[in-house]
Amino acid sequence: MIELIKVNKHFGSNHVLKDIDLQVPTGQKLVIIGPSGSGKSTLIRCMNMLEKPSSGRVIIDGVELTAHKAPVAQVRQSVAMVFQQFNLYPHKTVLENLTLAPVVVQGVAKEAAEESGRAFLERVGLSDKADAYPAQLSGGQQQRVAIARALNMHPKVLLFDEPTSALDPEMIQEVLDVIIGLAAEGITMVVVTHEMGFAREAADRVIFIDEGLILEDGTPQHFFEDAQHERTKLFLSKILR
């Protein structure tokens, strides 16, 4: 369970998140939608403390990350993140990308990490790329490797920060298919995305955020057919065309 209590974030004079209260129960697939600059990326980055909230509390499975001397690094081991720019380690092979953190952070034996790593590579359809370097892969392939890297930590929560926004259009679906496949499992997922089709298909819950406030919070059906705010309707009318 992810809990955000009265979370505020300021960047200088810019008030990016305003008193955000949000609870994501275990196993939920939450999609966060919002125009650019709305604070949605900042919001998801607060969930693993890559952004420190200016005030408020972030609690993951009962552990308060915003507390003094909180075991942030330890909690991050079970809260994996997939980034817009993939952020694979370019000096490591695909398989090494998957095994580095499990081995050095979690103390998993190298052979075991490689075995599970190969299984996750197969799952994202890239078992033949284990020995390739990231620069040799397409964007879509790199993002699928990044997902496998996240999975190889055996996380309880998966955070996706605009996972398809940096991809060429023809590669978006291959990545979404992998994420949709994962959504069928019990893992908690939070996805920031502009992919409305994905939100409809995979989300249990959609929140719409604008100017640092959560304006809509409900099922995908509620969001697409019964939005309350004018701001949301305007956004949908633009994005759904």
């Binding site: 690094a73 994996a80 993140m81 720019q85 952020n87 370019p90």
Partner: protein, 242 residues
């Protein structure tokens, strides 16, 4: 015009006369010994400079303001004062203030001097190297539960190394040449030995020409390596993804 040219050749002949060469060759064992001291000073100085450079480079690339300030002061002080003054201070000033420092052998004093001086330059190269690695690399590492030190060790520094290696090699070249200032504190390295041989036998021509040749032999392979590394770094930067 013609006569001044003849004069010039004649002077050159005097400067490099057979007698002057032979007085050098008779004491060439001193030259070898001096070269040995130079190599020892350069190697030890480089090790010290690397350690200081990595430590202060990581500090100045960190987000900690105090660490940044400490690194800044170190770099600015040693980059903006002459090496010769620093070494002379270590050799003659410090032992007055702190007499215990007198027991430190003069070669060691020189090693400390060039090590600290070049550590400041290497620190800047290391900082630039770390900062050339995208923030996403650190974030990805931290998001996987790595500590800052683990992220540096396994992810950021190995990548920064390709960026840092060419300027690092250039610093090694400069460091070798700069060991010549140890002359001023009386460490018997190549420059000191050359100076004392020519002062005794009045043969500066052959002595300094040979010294120059020896320094060149030490430095040129490194400079060549630096250029190759630079070409390779550029090539790999070109093939990398956006």
């Amino acid at each position: 015009m013609g006569s001044s040219f003849t004069q010039w050749v004649e002077n050159l002949g005097l400067m490099f006369s057979e007698a002057k060469w032979s007085s050098l060759f008779q004491h060439f064992d001193l030259v070898w010994k001096g070269l040995g001291y130079t190599i020892v000073a350069a190697l030890a100085g480089l090790v010290l400079a690397l350690v200081l450079g990595i430590v202060f480079g990581v500090l100045s690339a960190s987000r900690n303001r105090v660490a940044q300030a400490v690194a800044r002061i170190y770099v600015e002080f040693f980059q903006n004062t002459p090496l010769m003054l620093q070494v002379v201070f270590l050799g003659f000033g410090l032992p007055i203030i702190w007499p215990q420092f007198n027991v430190v052998p003069v070669l060691m004093v020189g090693i400390i001097g060039v090590g600290i001086y070049h550590g400041a330059y290497i620190s800047e190269a290391v900082r630039a190297g770390i900062q050339s690695i995208s923030k996403g690399q650190l974030e990805a590492s931290l998001s996987q539960g790595m500590s800052y030190v683990q992220a540096m060790r396994y992810v950021v520094i190995p990548q920064a190394l390709t960026v840092v290696l060419p300027p690092l090699t250039n610093q090694a070249v400069n460091l070798i040449k700069n060991t010549s200032v140890l002359l001023y504190i009386g460490a018997a390295e190549l420059m000191y030995v050359s100076k004392s041989i020519q002062a005794t036998y009045y043969n500066p021509g052959p002595v300094y020409l040979v010294a120059m040749g020896l320094y060149f032999c030490l430095c040129f392979p490194l400079a060549f390596l630096a250029r190759k590394l630079e070409e390779r770094a550029e090539a790999s930067a070109g093939s990398g993804q956006a």
